[in-house]
């Protein structure tokens, strides 16, 4: 939890969003931030020595939901190695309150969940990766200038194996 709060503070320092460490832990008033790509882009390029695992998913995407526990486990197991998972939901904006937030509560997701609300997909998809066709699930792992993109599903072991080179 300490790591997570620290990272929120770090984002706030860049002027992207105000830190609100209590946000994720208080279920009753759980909020998921809905951002456009400009805001998300800064989260995809944080040059701070931390390894970020950014997963693009949606509540209606079965293979995405299937692999979510692996990302949650990774976030927990590798927090002490300066790794943070960010779950970027592509749920429809009108589903934010009815679908996404109840899902995050029910699954008790501990990784940071961001809702990307930016219809100009042809503009932002290539900025995430030139190799991304737009299918989800998709994942970016990066640390400073080192970066890999995956348009595929993962098992926990596969995810761990992809993460390890970033930790050396």
């Amino acid at each position: 939890m300490a790591c997570k709060e620290a990272s929120r503070g770090a984002i706030a320092e860049e002027g992207v969003v105000a830190a609100n460490p209590g946000e994720a832990s208080s279920d009753a008033d759980l909020k998921v931030r809905s951002v456009d790509f400009k805001v998300l882009e800064s989260m995809l390029h944080q040059d701070n020595g931390k390894t970020y695992v950014v997963n693009f998913w949606a509540t209606w995407c079965a293979p995405c939901v299937k692999e979510l526990p692996h990302f949650e486990k990774l976030n927990e197991q590798y927090a002490h190695q300066n790794v943070e998972v960010i779950l970027v939901s592509l749920d429809f904006p009108k589903m934010l309150e009815s679908q996404l937030i109840p899902f995050v509560k029910k699954r008790n997701l501990r990784s940071e969940v961001i809702h990307l609300n930016d219809p100009k997909q042809n503009t932002w998809i290539p900025k995430v990766s030139q190799d991304w066709s737009g299918a989800i699930p998709a994942t970016v792992i990066y640390k400073d200038g080192q970066r890999k993109f995956y348009e595929r599903s993962f098992t926990y072991n596969e995810l761990e194996n992809e993460l390890k080179p970033f930790l050396q």
Binding site: A58, W60, C61, A62, P63, L90, F92, P93, K94, P119, K120, Q121, N122, I125, P126, D131, W132, S133, G134, A135, I136, P137, G145, Q146, R147, K148, E151, S153, P165, Q168
Partner: protein, 202 residues
């Protein structure tokens, strides 16, 4: 030391992407497309060569279950209504394996087509042989083909328009712009676009 390891990482990423590019990714704009024969929801086999009067095709890889595909159903019907008479009918193909996604079974396709009143063939890619040839990766995924003297040429690959969530907020209609350009004999300005969609279920 840090520079050294970064360099190795960059080289390995480059090597990997070079390898990926060597794999067959399907049709690119400008490629020629092979015809196919797939079963329509009415039980009849459909090939592109059956459409003698067509100037080309608006092919959509779509399905019953993907919310993005569903969000575009009405716009696909509108495309067929607008362009079938002008020589560019819509041909919809469901690429999903029903074993992986029961809601995309042949029976479910019939039901969905009836509910929505599809005005175009809705074909089942039985055995999943056709979508890899195209290089489709998601639903919905659009391909515009034009009949030329030496066969069917791929003219456009990508999204339908630039706003999946709100048809009224669309600013650029990529597919319409591309078909209009073909009908007018103009070059297509935007021939490749990307959009979020559901991965094809194998």
């Amino acid at each position: 030391m840090k520079i050294h390891s970064t360099l190795i990482a960059v080289i390995s990423v480059l090597a990997l992407s070079a390898f990926t590019n060597d794999l067959d990714k399907g049709y690119q704009v400008g490629d020629h497309a092979e015809d196919f024969s797939l079963m329509n929801i009415d039980g009849k086999m459909v090939s592109l060569s059956d459409f003698e009067a067509a100037k080309g095709f608006i092919i959509t890889f779509t399905c019953n279950t993907c919310p993005y595909a569903v969000a575009y159903e009405d716009r696909i019907i509108a495309l067929d209504q607008k362009y079938k008479g002008k020589g560019y009918p819509v041909i919809a193909i469901n690429p999903n394996n029903p074993k992986a996604k029961p809601g995309d079974s042949f029976e479910a396709m019939k039901t969905r087509a009836a509910e929505k009143g599809f005005t175009f063939p809705y074909l089942f890619d039985d055995g999943q042989k056709v979508y890899p040839r195209f290089g489709a990766t998601r639903t919905p995924h659009m391909y515009i083909l034009q009949k030329t003297e030496d066969g069917l040429q791929v003219k456009y690959i990508g999204a339908i328009d630039d706003n999946y969530g709100d048809a009224d907020a669309v600013e650029t209609r990529y597919v319409e712009d591309a078909v209009d350009a073909l009908l007018d004999g103009r070059p297509i300005e935007v021939a490749n676009t990307k959009a979020i969609g559901c991965s094809i279920k194998v």
